[in-house]
């Protein structure tokens, strides 16, 4: 492909984890005070997408699914340098778990003729890590998960990844199209350029698609979601012993005792 890759980066709007608290009286998750922000691992995915474009040309399109206000996370991506953004929004998507969500994203990635689809390794509000592999599975594409670093090989139509595996790392090459789940904190996301940020937040308008645009209107939503929540329980914090010591020697001694 001469014009470079079509790079799609999936992003999600989540409640700011710093503001989500557990009400000590009721044990319930309190999200009401939390600002809606971009899922933090997605910053790493956007940075990786922009770096791929810098290495091999092409375009970066940010893709998200959510209510109309989720367009804000597309503004973040466009501010950082994404070329365009697509918002999948439809009441029909409401209540979707990772299965229909990754189906809708997979159809959208096909529609965008994606060569590479990137996402953060997981979201801070559900932590399943299932969506990037789900996209790959729905489309029958290759997948690279827990990626630390990417190397574009456009001349071979391949993407090489360094993956985090237990006890070390491995390097894997995948044929396009490929879905990548970027590890959290593996790169340093760039700061948006001031004028680009103003453009993203004032003039940029995302493309909006609904479930029927993707032909998935009967395959999404609560009814199409196999996940069943069996119950919730809160764990009590483990009591930790504390003591003050007066000197480093005494501290070393204490540590010795524990070992």
């Amino acid at each position: 492909m001469d014009n470079g890759w079509n790079i799609v980066v999936c992003v999600k709007q989540v409640p700011d984890a710093d503001d989500v608290s557990i009400d000590p009286d009721t044990g319930r998750l309190n999200r009401s005070d939390a600002e809606a922000v971009l899922n933090s691992p997605d910053y790493n995915a956007i940075e990786a997408a922009l770096s791929l474009r810098e290495a091999g040309g092409g375009t970066v399109t940010a893709l998200t699914m959510g209510p109309p206000t989720a367009g804000e996370v597309l503004q973040v991506a466009v501010g950082m340098g994404a070329d365009d953004g697509v918002l999948l929004t439809d009441r029909a998507f409401g209540g979707s778990d990772t299965w229909p969500t990754s189906l809708a994203l997979a159809r959208a990635a096909e529609e965008l003729d994606a060569d590479v689809v990137l996402g953060g390794e997981e979201t801070t509000d559900s932590s399943t890590g299932q969506v990037p592999p789900g996209i790959a599975a729905h489309n029958g594409w290759a997948q690279l998960t827990y990626v630390e670093e990417l190397e574009a090989r456009p001349e071979e139509d391949r993407l090489v990844a360094r993956r985090d595996v237990e006890g070390g790392y491995e390097r894997v090459a995948a044929e396009l199209p490929v879905v990548v789940a970027m590890g959290f904190g593996e790169n340093t996301p760039r700061t948006a350029d001031l004028h680009r940020k103003i453009y993203a937040e004032t003039e940029f308008e995302p493309t909006e698609w609904d479930a029927s645009d993707l032909g998935v209107e009967d395959e999404v939503g609560m009814a199409a979601s196999p996940t069943q929540v069996g119950g919730m329980a809160t764990a009590d914090p483990v009591p930790r012993e504390q003591s003050m010591v007066d000197s480093a020697d005494e501290l070393a001694e204490k540590i010795g005792e524990v070992r």
């Binding site: 970066v60 948006a192 937040e201």
Partner: protein, 442 residues
Amino acid sequence: MTATPNYDDEFDAIVVGAGLSGTAAALTMAKDGLDVVMLERGPSPGSKNVFGGVLYTPRIRELTDLSDAPKERYVAKKTYSMLSDAGDETSMSIAPAAWREEPHNDSWMVLRRDFDEWFADQAVEAGATLITETTVTDLIREDGTVVGVETDRPNGTLRAPVVVLGEGANSLVSEGAGLKRQDDRDNVAVSAKEVRKYDREKLEDRFHLDGEAGLAAHYFGDGAVGDAVGGAFLYTNKRTVSIGVVYSIEDAAHGERTPDEVLDQFKQHPAVAPLVRGGRMVEYSAHAIPEGGPDSMPDLVHDGAVIVGDAAGLVLNSGIHLEGTNMAVESGFHAGQAIADALDRGRSDAAALESYEQRLEESYVVQNLDHYGWFMDTAAEEKEFLFEELPHALGDATEEYFRMDDRPKDEHVSDAKSHILNASGGWFGMAKKAWKFRKMLS
């Protein structure tokens, strides 16, 4: 990448800081049809702001519909208490019936995190642009004229005909660009404040509040802030109570205790402890307050720039009146109008913007600052009397006045008088002090 437009001179004005003064300026200009961009360093307006807790709203109510604003409670009652470090409390309580009626004397307890965000939204709805997480680091000047700002972002300069500096008490940009000199240390107060959360019903029972009614309590004397010029406060919000101390940074620098220790001490005073017992601390903050009065106000108008709010030193402390946020809004409003007038004539030089300073001088803001400018100096001069001797004498005098024993009441009255007279330096000393502080109530 899809093309990025260049926004240099696309906006009529850049507002540095989306706090109350900056937002008031932006809202005023946007309503006048100007294109304004607000650059805010926090993740949302208000997230970096700290104040005691009462916002006076006459101008805001004129600028926008206040009914949907996130207000906590209106001030239904004000108390002023002298606290001695021996545990005495002598207080006065004011609760005019009129305060319970709309518009509640335009006095509302608010939480800045909520209120400032809402207020900035009003400016955005009127057409202004809000850009957050962007810190202005310097001004761009050409031949002495301010022509734009520099930010901490890549490609981070932005030019516009006028820059409004509403950056707050710690005005590093204005100072760095030579538009104002750093405040003298003795013109700055330091504040430590915490917000405690309670069950709403419990809070209303404890402070005898119903509906949206609230209490604004002010404390003076060495039982409030120890051996320092200053005071303490307690404001009731819907489900939280804001408690804080404010005193001169000079005293904080020389004092033996840190501001958080002074706050802890205040919370332990027998008059205060039962009011703040229990609950859960949900916020802790410290802040600088410019209290230099009219003499320390910088030049507010420059070629291509104006200074508003705390950055302009617009805070009033008369002992009775503690104001700042209303003056910030007022200054932003007058600045916005002056800028609109100047740009209408195609100008942004200091002479064209001068009407901002004139409007402010004619407004209550500078009038009040001039009227009460003497207070902070006099309070510092009379520190020992005001903050130590008087609270103790009042405690002793009232104890004597109401004492139940086998002596006749006129003896108690006479003893009570002598406590006050002793503290004041006799009849002559008292007359002198009365003369000195005569303007406090005028």
